[in-house]
Symmetry: C3
Subunit: 198 residues, 3 copies
């Protein structure tokens, strides 16, 4: 058993929580969920059996992470962000569906959020999308398609608005380079990843 910290009101039912992780009030981590080390799981969050969180993931308050949702290292999920794992949800109790459809579990659609990506507050992530590394999803956005790495998307449905660096700053195009006005750093993009120009 690793050494993690949980608030007395939190329910932690998995034995796979990494060292240094903190779990806050009224949060619920179900049996079989996998939570890496050094994560932070806010109040009223819910991590379902079958969810997988890497190292250093930040789950803000009220976020629910379902079976089939994979969050890589250092992902940030803002407050009230909502993941999904079903593209045609119906009450599993509907008589026509109970035997047939939900039993087969063919409804489960997996979602992948790659290293360092940020999901803005109250954003909605449709099942089946892949959010690329260090992408930034604007608050309140509805993500219906894959998001390229180091890309900012906003809106309903979310559309690309520019490129960001690992620090989350929006870059300005300058010829074939990309400038971070705050730091003065300049980048070239190689295979969708920024390389700092020296």
């Amino acid at each position: 058993m690793s050494r993690f910290t949980a608030h007395p009101t939190a329910l932690v039912e998995t034995d796979r929580v990494g060292e240094g992780t903190r779990i806050w009030a009224f949060a619920h981590v179900m049996p079989g969920a996998v939570v890496g080390p050094d994560c932070n799981i806010g109040d009223h969050a819910f991590i379902e059996s079958g969810a997988v969180l890497g190292r250093g993931v930040t789950i803000k308050n009220g976020v629910m992470v379902w079976k089939g949702v994979h969050l890589a290292d250092y992902v940030f999920a803002g407050p009230g962000a909502v993941f999904t794992n079903d593209l045609r949800p119906r009450s599993a109790r509907l008589p026509a569906l109970r035997a047939q459809e939900y039993a087969e579990a063919d409804w489960l659609v997996e979602t992948w959020v790659e290293e360092g990506a940020s999901i803005g507050a109250n954003a909605t992530i449709l099942a089946g999308v892949r959010v690329g590394a260090y992408a930034m999803i604007g608050a309140g956005s509805v993500v219906t398609k894959d998001v390229a790495p180091f890309t900012l998307v906003v809106g309903s449905p979310a559309r690309p608005r520019g490129r960001v660096n690992a620090e989350g700053r929006v870059l300005r195009a300058q010829g074939d380079r990309w400038l971070d006005p705050a730091s003065g750093k300049s980048y070239r993009f190689v295979s969708d990843r920024p390389e700092e120009c020296t």
Copy 2:
């Protein structure tokens, strides 16, 4: 008293919960709420006094169902979906309003979700709308108008995008018929409801 199941941390204050219903962690069902049999009420959900849920309703985590919201049999409310019951909300503590307006309770506007309809994750349902039977509200949508039965709506504000069947599959128009490409079934719509063609 019917036999239902509640997590030890759940607060169930009504005596009108149907048999076979399950209520999960940190959920709160208030006095006077009516919950039918065979429902599933997720973690952190809230069912207010005056809310009415039929049979086999699925309430995913964090959903709040207010007084004046009526959910018919087999409705699905996705995670973080938000209902409302007031079209011009103000703090009831505002001195100008305290005596006058909120006391009269003329602010309450009822919402109806009909049999088998699905409210997508993180969708917002404006007070006063009627969501037709087996309609499908896309995740993250904001519903400001009535939704016809067996209709998919998406966006902010939500607009119709097509027809769905009871299984939640989007149908393709073929002359005067509608095809479910997954099952090969073909339908005619009679009074807004699909009838399978034999």
Copy 3:
């Protein structure tokens, strides 16, 4: 210590809660938060250290109020409304950022909601905006810019749609006056505030 009411399951860790305030089930008010008198804080709400709430504020269920968010007297925050305080969120555990950026706390961007304003259900408020007095934010909207007093905004991103009065009713332009069709009252706007015409 003032006399306020808290549900037995609520966690109230600040000693700055005003008289007459009520705090409901599974809510969490952190040390150092400031909550005025006569407030109402719903189930599953979260008030962070550094948040400031005035008198008579209504916080509906599931709302999170962060450090840097200032809610003036009689503000209404609808169910599931989400505030933010960071415009380029990243996991604070990201090695590149841990020392440098989050330590400096230069990421905190303050938000101000002025007297009597209403934030609709499931709306998202971007960090740094100012919502004017008695403004009305439509349910499900995403607010990315300042909102003028007594103004209704809706959509993603939210755009102005009209003027409202303190009661939250949408006004109709009549020459240089503004009419509330429900009450028959007529207003002139002086410095963005309605003055009733006698």
